[in-house]
Symmetry: D2
Subunit: 331 residues, 4 copies
């Protein structure tokens, strides 16, 4: 019973079907009819004009988006636990040509307006320190927590007057929307570009970068090719994204994963380190307790010496989640 | 009847099957059992130890390979028509951090030892000019022509004493092997790294970078992640490559494409601009002649004002190739 | 009798004096009163508002200027013999983060509108080829030839409608102005930024980057610091530049160098490979002839197997120039 | 009475004299006899073979040195207050092509073996996190504190087994040597490259990068040119460095600055935030106290809301230092 991560979960049958239906040769790269349908499909989701590019990984999606907002001599402000800082092998340094990451602290891996302001004001306004050009936040956060629309507005009030761009790493954006039950546009808030995750949510190899400022997308298209991220059979990536949007599969999948995580979280009582608002559960948990759980067949990651992380996926079986919930309650 | 390119052809059924068989969750990234099987599978093909990484595109494969051989202050020598110069949107400049491409001329888009020597000797041996660290050649070349093992040896005799690395862009390496009917190791020759193409040959989204010096692969692994080219479900890329090797599918597919191209080439007579040694045919062809062919339903690219390029793929139908051959003969 | 280059000539006494007068401690970096006086001094020279940054070398000046005009995924169009291509050790690749140089041919190392247009039109307007963002020309050119104002206007008519920026490498701008005897603004023409040379013309270690679009200068200031080109005692660089402008020292020095070169050129007759319009003379000259000149004590560079280059500097002694002229005439 | 910084102090008369003596034209770049004398001069100082390059700024010296040790996909470990992190405008990101800085805490801005080990062990040994390739320390530190030879040995015992390179930012190396009164080689310890400062110590525009591994210098020469840091009249930089070594001027100047700082520090009593081991004094000091000092004519920087920094230079007048000491004691 696997709770290691959602990142290697199976591919949803609808995604498989859509990919196979795309096998007929069509124009290469992003010239095929599926790739050309993405802008409209996402415009409908967000209720406004957008320009959408597919990308093969979340790292590529995040860094391509940021590369349109941040000059090489600038910086990105993000949380100290952000994926771009912790888990992308220095990809921002590569895609942004050495631009800096300015790190802030914050509960539940969320960037607050106060923390952002303090960090921005600590940077001397001279050429001896890299100036922040954009802020990147993660929705849901690295600890499975969700920014409310009001939080996003407050953050925007801090950033917009400074002329800063806002990027959202939405590797688990679907889980945030499924949790808040608000329109996607509200959950994205005032961002300039959103990395819309699909791989962790039943896809195979496609994420979407949704640009709310189409001018940025024009730059991103060149950057994507230049980064080797323009496969000739791009139709198979577009097919995955369209299949996810079709009939709100993305939301159903995310809701299933959230429900499984919620089941486990509800059994955890005071052990919970973060509220369970998406599909991740972080528990205080001693080494012997973790050993006990593993002995019962549960797979998961240690999170430092005194905690464990459990991740549910779209295909986590209900009985597995219930079994884990019982085991956690019985610790 | 499509002869535009092989780059958007359909995916071979065996590849589809292998991908579906890989759907079971496994370790993420390249930790799955299929990815871990690649070194051995390719070692068997080349008869020596190799380290193999998958990559999603030929551009990524080429540039990752070169990034292990060329320092940012160095240069790559290649043909003026090389894909890395003409069609990768400046990706070498990105992956190699501004290293230079030194361009040489040569018939059939092939780099000769003489041309390489002349270019190398024209570079002043001082810090005011970027020094060449590696040479990149394309097998089969951008004009569908093949380096013989003896040509590769002669090139190596020019490069090795200078301490230069050799990279081979093998987007159509299969077609070269199918043409020469020699062991893969001989067709690769003394290269340090080979981009082994699969997408143009019945794959969906996987190329292999074969490192004959495993130390280079260790660097490439970091560079790959840093470039956003390490998808979490890497097993689907590995599955494609293994399916291509299985039962020599790669060779059968390439042979089919070569045969179709050969059919067309044989009908072309004196119009041929380059010998047909792979799956591409370049014909001298006026605008009215091209219009006539298009009127008969043939799709292809103009190649400047007086020529046309026809590319056969693994799934080009024999009757289509014959029809085109007849039409060409009748011009 | 040294005619190797003007790049290591002595420092003019006025420049020494100005530097010594700047020794009093002042604010560091570019905050001192001399650095702050540059904008006005150059505004007076060019008859319009400009923003001026000093830089220690021509390479730094050129590349900092271009870095404000060219995105990493773009390209610079320049002559095949341009200093940025031939003699800067790949610095444009470094400062522009891998942007490409697109090379054109042209007599006397000058870029013509026709050559520029042909090269621009040969670039496919898609993401697979790097697009040109700026053009760089050299005034006087690498062969000591000068663009007339009308030539610059014609070039501008080709570039402006395409939205391309124009940079001028003016390592020998003074020599061009001294030759044309036109106002500096006309000799610069419609450029966005000019590298205004001083080191070859009696300075020690300061060039000026003159931005005619002050917005570019704001970016350049960050890039300059980031490239380690913001010395704390910047006042000594500013002092050199102000000394050069004072009493038109820059023009007097350049006129002296031009006159010496003119003397030699006038004696060269049909041997001249390029008109002598600045301080460089390129002569057809066999190996024995070169040996004969060297035997008479003249120092100079071979320029390929059949030519020689002679460069006069601000401090070339009249008798030396005359002696060389006689020796050349006597060949 | 200026105690703002040592970075804009006057140039020592011996340095001026040496520069003027270098005015005779010689070979350009680093081919002149002075530049060629540097290796020997520094070899004598350090008692072993070294390869020495001049550079115009400390930022350039630090980053060129590091660029020979750290691959773009790697990282540098340094103190959170290190100059390369705080005051170089992101230059390491530029020169190292996006390599990361891994920051550690530590008293007096010094890196301890324990802090280094903790940070190194916190980095997962996989491709998802940038791996540290080198460590950079500052001697004397950003708070004017000095690493003892035994501290350097202990640090080396932590780093060497991991194969990590060690760089020393010695912008105030002279002050450290003057404080410890030990041979330069012991004060440098087991470093691979040392940025040997001169500008803050009576120079005008030259720092030395001393490579104890000559192989690194060979790379640095290309990187220096590529960064626009190879002026054609390099003899003037070499002259400054040789003048500083001549008769131990560097040590005399540093000793004078240290003595002035020591005078002030001795008067500061319990206000001292860091021991005074070089030429900087950091004092606890309220806003009214700072105002009082300024009213008496002392110039200095605030260091946060409750502290002040005073820096003495080689040319700080003894009476000024004594006056400040009295004023501090009287607070």
């Amino acid at each position: 019973m696997q709770f290691l991560s959602d990142n290697a979960a199976a591919v949803h049958p609808n995604v498989w079907r859509a990919m196979q239906a795309a096998d007929d040769a069509d124009l290469p790269y992003d010239g095929d009819r599926l790739s050309r349908a993405l802008d409209d499909a996402f415009a409908q989701l967000f209720g406004r004009e957008v320009a959408v590019l597919w990308a093969a990984t979340g790292t590529a999606a995040n860094c391509l988006a940021l590369s349109t907002m941040v000059q090489p001599h600038g910086a990105v402000l993000c949380h100290r636990e952000a994926h771009i800082e912790m888990d992308e092998g220095g990809a921002p340094g590569f895609f942004l040509h050495g631009a800096k990451l300015v790190l802030v602290e914050g509960d539940h891996a969320k960037v607050t307006p106060e923390a952002a302001r303090a960090a921005l004001e600590a940077i001397r306004d001279d050429v001896h320190q890299a100036q922040v050009h954009a802020v990147s936040i993660t929705q849901a956060s690295e600890y499975g927590c969700v920014y409310r629309p009001a939080e996003l507005s407050r953050l925007d009030m801090e950033l917009a007057p400074r002329g800063l761009r806002l990027h959202m790493d939405g590797a688990r954006f679907a889980n945030a929307v499924a949790h808040l039950l608000r329109p996607a546009a509200e959950v994205a808030g005032p961002v300039d570009a959103l990395s819309f995750g699909c791989v962790k949510n039943g896809g195979m190899s496609a994420e979407a970068v949704v640009f709310f400022d189409p001018g940025l997308a024009d730059v991103a298209r060149y950057r994507r090719k230049r980064a080797g991220h323009l496969p000739s059979k791009g139709r198979f990536l577009a097919a995955q994204l369209l299949a996810m949007l079709e009939g709100d599969l993305w939301l159903h999948n995310a809701a299933a994963a959230n429900a499984a995580a919620g089941e486990i979280g509800a059994a955890a009582g005071g052990r919970l380190l973060h509220p369970v608002e998406a599909n991740e559960v972080f528990l205080q948990c001693t080494a012997p307790e973790r050993a006990a759980l593993r002995a019962q067949g549960f797979g998961f990651y240690d999170w430092g010496p005194e905690a464990a992380r459990f991740v549910a996926a779209w295909d986590t079986r209900e009985e597995d989640a219930k079994a884990l919930a019982r085991a956690v309650a019985a610790l």
